[in-house]
């Protein structure tokens, strides 16, 4: 009897279809995959250790660079966790502005996912459409924070500046124009027979397995589990908004694609409610000693200047205890576990990375299937290597 020999193929860190520097070791028998072993760590930056040596305020720009496709979500999660630790209540306008920006961030991330996933499977046009439309959202980011991607706009106790004067006009223009664009992407892909053949019954995971592998986000909802942190444990005023949570049936890549397209529509719905009902008010909480006072006060009042100076140089002392705040980022559940130890620097900031936990289930998605399905599986999990490796 001939013995079955397998070859080991290395899908290296530099590869056009792995989104970043992911290395996958495949053991193949012909075209069938016998064993899959993802190797990560090629972008390890030591962000958690760097954040331990900084004040709470100065660690905000580090959070931008983890999931670089949804930077405002990371900022939001970190600031909510610190506000929980220090027991700060933010004004209503801040909550609504944060919700609006978080939903635009979800759109941003899903657009890049759609473009690159379709590019991996061979559809060369959708990526041009999605990146062109992403420029509208990035334009709004630039008006708010001055930067196209790493804005650090959401700060502890509020926002870094007031919302720009043309924020309302820009967001309404986007809301008017976008539903047509989503229809455009759907005409290209949803009924396309080649796309359906490449994604139906590929990278399937059942609901029980998904919970066992600790998956969250669209990976879990694609298998039929209706769980979304915005409805289950609402944060930052999400309980006031009216939206639905799309759920898939089979847990394959096609269901996850349809789920994310529907999530884009629901994000537009939430953003419309946020911009229609945006209250007036201050853009930062008034907690002297902890939250930086607004710049107009700093230039005119003495106490504000003293507090500003003290907070920038020394920071505030956190109580001895630990908090965990999780939000629903476009990739899954991102959680910040902050341990304060009585001094002005955190003892430990642990980030619960959704992409790290999601990519660990790649063996369950790919083993026993064809080699070309590995590319589809990696794209459908929607990972960002900056978050996997931190």
């Amino acid at each position: 009897m001939a013995e079955n020999k397998t070859i080991t193929l290395n899908m290296g860190p530099q590869h056009p279809a792995t989104h970043g520097v992911l290395r996958v070791e495949l053991e193949l028998e012909g075209e069938t995959v016998v064993k899959v072993r993802p190797i990560v760590g090629y972008l390890h930056t030591g962000i958690e250790k760097t954040m331990e040596s900084k004040l709470y305020y100065k660690a905000i720009p580090e959070t931008d660079r983890m999931d670089y496709l949804a930077p405002m979500s990371n900022n939001l999660g970190y600031c909510l966790a610190v506000e929980k630790l220090m027991e700060i209540e933010v004004p209503e306008k801040v909550k609504w502005a944060r919700v609006c920006l978080a939903e635009l961030t979800r759109l941003n991330s899903h657009l890049v996912w759609l473009g690159t996933h379709a590019l991996d499977l061979g559809a060369l046009s959708p990526v041009l459409y999605t990146f062109r439309d992403r420029e509208m959202i990035v334009d709004i980011y630039e008006a708010c924070g001055g930067q196209r991607m790493m804005t650090s706009y959401i700060r502890i106790g509020g926002l870094s500046h007031d919302l720009p004067l043309d924020f309302d006009k820009k967001v309404r223009h986007l809301l008017k124009v976008f539903p047509e664009k989503i229809k455009e992407y759907e005409t290209l892909l949803t009924e396309n027979q080649i796309f359906i053949n490449r994604t139906r019954n590929v990278a399937v995971i059942s609901a029980e397995d998904a919970i066992n592998w600790s998956l969250t986000g669209p990976m879990l909802r694609g298998s039929g589990v209706k769980h979304d942190l915005r409805k289950a444990n609402p944060y930052s005023g999400y309980e006031n908004f009216d939206f639905e949570i799309p759920v898939g049936e089979n847990g394959d890549a096609y269901d996850r694609y349809k789920l994310r397209m529907e999530e884009m529509r629901q994000s537009l719905r939430i953003a419309r409610q946020a911009i229609d009902g945006m209250p007036e008010g201050p853009y930062r909480a008034h907690v002297p000693g902890v939250v930086l006072p607004p710049k107009e006060d700093v230039l005119h009042k003495m106490e504000s200047m003293i507090f500003h100076f003290k907070i920038i140089t020394e920071g505030f002392k956190a109580p001895c205890g630990s908090v965990y705040q999780a939000i629903e980022s476009p990739k899954g559940e991102i959680g910040f576990y902050i341990v304060g130890d009585g001094t002005n620097r955190p003892r430990r900031i642990r980030v619960r990375p959704p992409s790290f936990v999601n990519i660990a289930c790649l063996p369950a998605l790919c083993e026993g299937r064809m080699v070309s399905d590995v590319v589809c599986a990696i794209g459908s999990v929607d990972i960002v290597l900056g978050e996997v490796d931190r």
């Binding site: 066992n212 600790s214 576990y337 430990r348 642990r350 619960r352 660990a360 289930c361 369950a364 490796d389």
Partner: protein, 173 residues
């Protein structure tokens, strides 16, 4: 009964002597238990369908070196457990001593614990007995030591200007 009371009753009735303390900082329920009891508590929780605590969200680790909390044990492991039906979350915390940071691995119960424990081993040096593949995952293969420990230096390198071109890199915390 609401979820918090149910969990309290469950853990205190079955594992009363293993629970060292109970905490409710900022409305987050957490139990500080002995290291040997963590595996049994998780096994019983998985079998209990009414509580439905099936999602292991995270395994976090803290190093309490040079702080007065170090007296209770240098390393702290925090297991973050979530119930999908009741939408409630609670934490199981344990303390491990500095000279022998070992605890039984949770991989037979949850597949998702595999990579989370590998990261805890790589970054802080906590050994999980019974883990199928406890190797480095994030740091390069030639880096010795465990970066997230407090005594590992941050290795800050002085940028090279024209006046200090030939100095070796500085190492500070």
């Amino acid at each position: 009964m609401d979820f918090e009371q149910e969990i309290r009753e469950f853990i205190n009735s079955r594992f009363g002597e293993d629970v060292i303390a109970e905490d409710n900082f900022r409305n987050q329920l957490s139990f500080i238990v002995k290291p040997a009891a963590v595996y049994e508590i998780c096994q019983d929780l998985l079998e209990n369908d009414r509580l439905d605590v099936k999602l292991l969200a995270d395994i976090a680790m803290v190093d309490w070196l040079d702080h007065e909390e170090e007296k209770k044990g240098r390393f702290e492991l925090v297991y973050n457990l979530y119930s999908l039906k009741h939408k409630g979350r609670f934490f199981l915390k344990t303390r491990l001593p500095a000279d022998k940071p070992e605890i039984k691995s949770l991989t037979p119960l949850w597949n998702g614990a595999n990579w989370l424990e590998r990261e805890a081993f790589d970054m802080m040096g906590i050994i999980f007995t019974g883990h199928p593949d406890l190797t480095k995952i994030l740091t390069p293969d030639d880096l010795e030591g465990h970066p997230l420990r407090r005594d590992f230096p941050l290795t800050w390198e002085q940028p090279k200007f024209s006046w200090n071109k030939d100095d070796p890199p500085e190492v500070i915390k």
